[in-house]
């Protein structure tokens, strides 16, 4: 087969050369006619490539930034301080009232354990809502009833410290009745 092709070439040498010259002439005409257009298209393509490249770089940069920020956010979340200890200070006339109120209020504040310190400091009104004018009944012989008033709240070093003032309702009720 190869021999046949070679013989065909040898027989039609002139045709082959003319064919090659035709290709060269044709492509030369094409180049002369459309050269400017090809240049413009190539230039446009390169501009698009450049713009695309710039956008890709921008995307990579933004992705990197996003990753950094998410890492940072995760770290801050991990490092976020939480309430580990709740201390209640009660100011009352009798010490047994102090102890009883303290115990009950501490029980009431138990859900605040392990809550974010920042969240509590941002929403101190929640503590006020829970504690202000809260009535506590002390399980003693007289069933003493006291009303709690929130005095101060402090958040420091994973500790929530609350100062309360107690008003004895039973004695005031008795005095009212006496009047």
């Amino acid at each position: 087969m190869a021999k046949g092709i070679m013989q065909g070439f040898k027989k039609n040498r002139r045709c082959f050369v003319m064919f090659l010259l035709g290709i060269i002439m044709g492509s030369s005409f094409f180049l002369i006619l459309y050269g400017q257009k090809i240049d413009a298209l190539l230039s446009e393509r390169n501009t698009i490539y450049y713009a695309n490249n710039q956008k890709y770089k921008e995307i990579l940069k933004l992705q990197k930034e996003l990753n950094q920020l998410s890492k940072k956010g995760g770290r801050t979340q991990e490092q976020e301080k939480r309430v580990k200890k709740i201390i209640v200070e009660v100011e009352a006339e009798q010490s047994y009232i102090t102890d009883a109120v303290k115990a009950q209020i501490e029980k009431k504040l138990a859900p605040f354990q392990d809550k974010s310190m920042q969240w509590i400091s941002n929403n101190p009104d929640i503590l006020e809502l829970i504690l202000e004018k809260e009535q506590v009944t002390i399980e003693d012989s007289q069933k003493t009833k006291v009303e709690v008033h929130l005095k101060y709240v402090s958040l420091y070093d994973e500790t929530l410290k609350i100062w309360l003032e107690v008003q004895d309702l039973t004695s005031s009720e008795i005095s009212n009745t006496a009047k």
């Binding site: 060269i24 180049l31 050269g35 400017q36 090809i38 240049d39």
Partner: protein, 109 residues
């Protein structure tokens, strides 16, 4: 003798012109095939090929210089002058080729 002189002059002119035009067009095709700007490449090639077209037309620099040496030292100033005419003719051919390419691409001479 005179006819031969003019014949050689015209031949040099056309060879130089052909080298520039052919080189530029085929170089442009090559640029197109290799993903480069064809017109820009053609313009650059026209400038680069100018000197080589002259050299190709007059048959190599060393031959010409040798001819100069022989004719001047031999006292044949006529022949030396002829060589100069051939060089100028080749230069004109190459230069006209470059001008044509510039005109084709930039639309100015």
């Amino acid at each position: 003798m005179e006819q031969e002189f003019w014949g050689t002059a015209v031949l040099d002119f056309l060879i130089a012109l052909g080298v520039v035009l052919g080189g530029v067009i085929l170089g442009g095709l090559g640029a197109f095939l290799t993903d480069e700007y064809p017109m820009f490449k053609m313009l650059r090639l026209a400038e680069q090929l100018k000197i080589w077209a002259m050299v190709a037309a007059i048959g190599g620099t060393f031959d010409t210089i040798r001819n100069f040496e022989i004719t001047i030292l031999g006292g044949q100033l006529n022949l030396a002058f002829q060589q100069i005419i051939f060089i100028v003719s080749a230069f004109l051919g190459a230069h006209i080729g470059t001008i044509l390419v510039r005109w084709l691409i930039l639309g100015e001479f």
